[in-house]
Symmetry: C2
Subunit: 216 residues, 2 copies
């Protein structure tokens, strides 16, 4: 959180949660399952969403994505090129998506033609934790390239999410990271109550397990 007074911070978070609840109701009215993908820059959120969407479309599900970024449309372009219908959401200066930004996006999407909505948050392993968007699940994506101390350094985002995905396990050796250290830290932090999936979006490893954990 940025350095503002406690009162102001509380209001911002409370207002966000109110709008998140509206988003949740709106998505339920249209029978849309929504997932918030959080994680640092380069964790592989875009690639993961593209691969998961391909698998879900092959099962006959209609998938839409919201690509959140501070600026630009690189992620949206990659998603659209893969055949995934996508709404771009630039935050300007904001370091995370908030429920109001997503609310505005939802009004531009024909939700009756969507079964699953993937929301890619801004690349940041700190700030998005405090801003629920009204999704069914929140997923945090980390990468072996980020080192083996992610869970110890940033417990908040793991506590505020329902599932963790450790991406790029195929290059764990190349970056000298032992995935088991991360898994152990995560299990210790969550008391073993939440799943962590070892994954490589690039190599197609772990995608079916992710889909199963998401209940899709």
């Amino acid at each position: 959180m940025h350095n503002v007074t406690v009162g102001m911070e509380f209001d911002v978070l409370k207002e966000n949660n109110n709008i998140a609840n509206e988003n949740y109701e709106m998505l339920k009215d249209h029978k849309v399952v929504a997932i918030d993908f959080m994680g640092s820059i380069g964790a592989g959120k875009t690639a993961l969403i593209i691969k998961l969407a391909e698998k879900l479309r092959a099962k006959g599900l209609r998938v839409h994505a919201i690509a959140g970024d501070v600026t630009g449309a690189d992620d949206m372009t990659r998603m659209v090129d893969s055949g995934l219908t996508t709404t771009n959401c630039n935050t300007g200066k904001e370091c995370h998506l908030d429920a109001n930004m997503v609310h505005r996006c939802l009004h531009g999407i024909d939700l009756d033609s969507v079964d699953v909505l993937f929301i890619e948050n801004v690349g940041n392993l700190v700030c998005p934790a405090d801003f629920p968007l009204g999704t069914d699940m929140r997923v945090v994506v980390i990468s072996t390239t980020e080192g083996d101390d992610m869970v110890r350094k940033h417990p908040d985002i793991f506590i505020h999410s329902d599932l963790a995905i450790l991406n790029k396990v195929d290059i764990a050796d190349a970056v000298d990271v032992d995935p088991q250290i991360i898994v152990n830290d995560y299990r210790k932090l969550t008391g073993g109550r939440k799943d962590i999936v070892l994954c490589s979006a690039k190599k197609g490893i772990g995608l079916d397990e992710v889909i199963s954990c998401l209940g899709l």
Copy 2:
């Protein structure tokens, strides 16, 4: 920036800048050269600081580090294990160091026995941009593992820094990233007025060039 009113945001930034100026004067009084290292989680800031400090110590310079993190002391421990005297600075919930946090740290350091102060900011490629700490230079560290679109996605932090370091160039091929794309984006953004150094802290590539760019 988090979603607060413009007035509040302005006050926070103005107050930060006032304290940053105090820090700058305090460091100058003690003839300390200070560098702020910003960058995402896993960019390799800690490894880079350790390797640069080793080279500077070999030249007879006295180096101190401030390790900024949301929680924990992993980075400080790595620095201390390398022989680098280090002050830990946990931000609690904050997604960046601010000038006041650094000010408190400075009062705990014997600045007369320090020639160079390396400050490792919290792992985040967005928020630290707006909060100068009062250092001589601000450096942004990115990694090939973060993809080739970093500069396009997060121009602010590059605009607010004096030097960019592209780390982990030794594994660029393994992660399918062409460093030249990043270099070209950076040159275009900065009009060629700022340097970008291709580096591998792990393999010792580019460290002397970084030291030269820092004027050390």
